[in-house]
Amino acid sequence: MTKPFMFEKPLGMRDTLPELYETKAAVRNKMSDEIKKWGYQFIETPALEYYETIGEASAILDQQLFKLLDQQGHTLVLRPDMTTPIARVAASKLLNQRIPLRLAYSANVYRAQQREGGRPAEFEQMGIECIGNKSTSADAEMIALMADVLKAAGLEKFKITIGHIGFVQELFLSILGNEERAAVLRKFLYEKNYVGYREHVKSLTLSSIDKQRLIEFISLRGGENTLTKALGLLEGEHGREQLSELQELAVQLKEFGVDQYVSLDLTLVSHMSYYTGTLFEVYAGGVGSPIGNGGRYDNLLDKFGWDASATGFGIRMDRLVEAIGEIQEADVPECILFSPERRKEALDFAKQKRAEGIMVTIQDINAVENVDAYTRTFSDVHLFVGNGGRVSNE
């Protein structure tokens, strides 16, 4: 490999310049204010974790982890998601006092890029986790809160698609009989390969009725009649419980007043393998990937020694900002140019300006090569130069 140029960064790493920084900061503040209003408390966890704990419990593929060694030779990872570290913290006795726990985070996560640029390997996520809460009302709260947070951020049009991995599992198992065969079919869904799915179903040794049930399964998406259609595919009790959960969820989302944002897709299968129940993704026009996702994960905390059910969501800040589309103008400070003999006067003036809440830059005029070019970048310029009085020009 050739030596990198001085300006180069590792694949997928990005700089955030002032305009984007201000935009992100403004959006972030609006979102965290909204999350706090729902009674969630923010926490931070370290960027580095053990590979054996977080690396393995997380659903992110091994080859996407950034790994390094500490001085004792332990393998470390840069956290690839926030849900797993929060599960680790929550399972420790530290926070076991108030259950259900409601925690929030805003942090950068790291996922190595295999292919090419165009996708960040480090990105900010804001999200929440509600732990020790197995009621459907917790699932509804996630979706309602996510909708509120997105609205607070200034996003007007978005669509939340809800699925249920437990239903997929029950239906596949009841038709196919064992987990191996169900896993093959699930993989087609996960790969979004409907052509392969249909061909695979055709090749199975099943009654034509069962084949038809599996084929009809992939069109289970859309509005409320989706659940009725799904019910029609069931034989016996398998999957009934999951459908009634979704029914209940739909009722609650109406009560929350967010039903206009949601639609159902029972074929939705996430890349996050730890989900166990309802799961959802949120989409906005103009951004080619989901801007956020979430769902119920009832087995993850068990890996850290606490058998608790949980649900949560995370929003990708980079994609959200792209979806909102407005770049905030960075606030431009005023400038005070001074010559050394009038420095004291200039400094006093700057102090007074700052007390008024105005941003000012102070600059010795002798260190500026091109005064015209330099001052042009400020909103206002104040000169404390030579013997004359203060001059201000726009």
């Binding site: 390969n193 052509v195 998406r221 906005a284 026009g285 080619g288």
Partner: protein, 208 residues
């Protein structure tokens, strides 16, 4: 008003068949569609915009969401492994991916060389066979590689087998069948659901 949709089309071999198929499905495409050198063609009466891309790049445009739909060969999808929905098998431009080489030859035990335009497909195929191989990426005229001693085997698409035959090569294994597929960006698939479902249904109807 129905929403505006962008479809990425592959230039070259698949294009004509794909265009014919769209017409058959009732899309009113202008006559200049076929011999235009433009890379972007808008069809206002259908609310459609077509972009003409290299076949290998169609799935890239769709994955990034600059095209809502695309028509791509299964060979490209296997090679690129992009995050897109594979909605329909259009059953056009049928061919298959195969391993070929000079007749009556065996590949050496130590690091045999395989030349291909599809390095990922070739690599995962031989790995599944338990063979350790070295892949050499070429961009065309793959048949040249075994003839001139660059590689012992090639992995390439075969439609009639004529090119292999003319160059004195034989097929050793068939890796996967290839036809063109209709693919969709995951977000467009949700946001423009109605429009895409309509197009899928119209195309599904004319596929035998």
């Amino acid at each position: 008003m129905s929403s505006f949709l962008t479809i990425a089309m592959p230039k070259g071999r698949i294009f004509e068949e794909a265009a014919e198929m769209l017409r058959k499905a009732g899309f009113r495409l202008p006559p200049e569609f076929d011999d235009s050198r433009k890379l972007i063609i808008e069809v206002e009466e259908e609310n459609l915009r077509f972009i003409l891309a290299k076949p290998m790049d169609v799935v890239t445009y769709v994955e990034h969401g600059v095209a809502d739909l695309g028509i791509a060969g299964k060979d490209v999808m296997l090679e690129e492994e992009r995050d897109v929905y594979e909605l329909l098998d259009l059953k056009i431009s049928a061919c298959y991916l195969a391993v070929a080489g000079l007749p009556n030859t065996k590949i050496s035990d130590i690091a045999p060389k395989i030349a291909s335009k599809y390095p990922n497909v070739a690599s995962s195929y031989f790995r599944e066979q338990g063979e350790q191989v070295e892949i050499i990426k070429l961009n065309g005229s793959i048949e040249l590689a075994p003839l001139i001693g660059l590689a012992e085997r090639i992995v390439d698409i075969v439609s009639t087998g004529q090119t292999l035959k003319e160059n004195g090569l034989v097929e050793y294994a068939r890796i996967a069948d290839v036809t063109s597929r209709l693919v969709a960006n995951p977000v467009s698939y949700r946001i423009k659901e109605e429009r895409i479902t309509e197009i899928v249904d119209r195309l599904a109807e004319i596929i035998e």
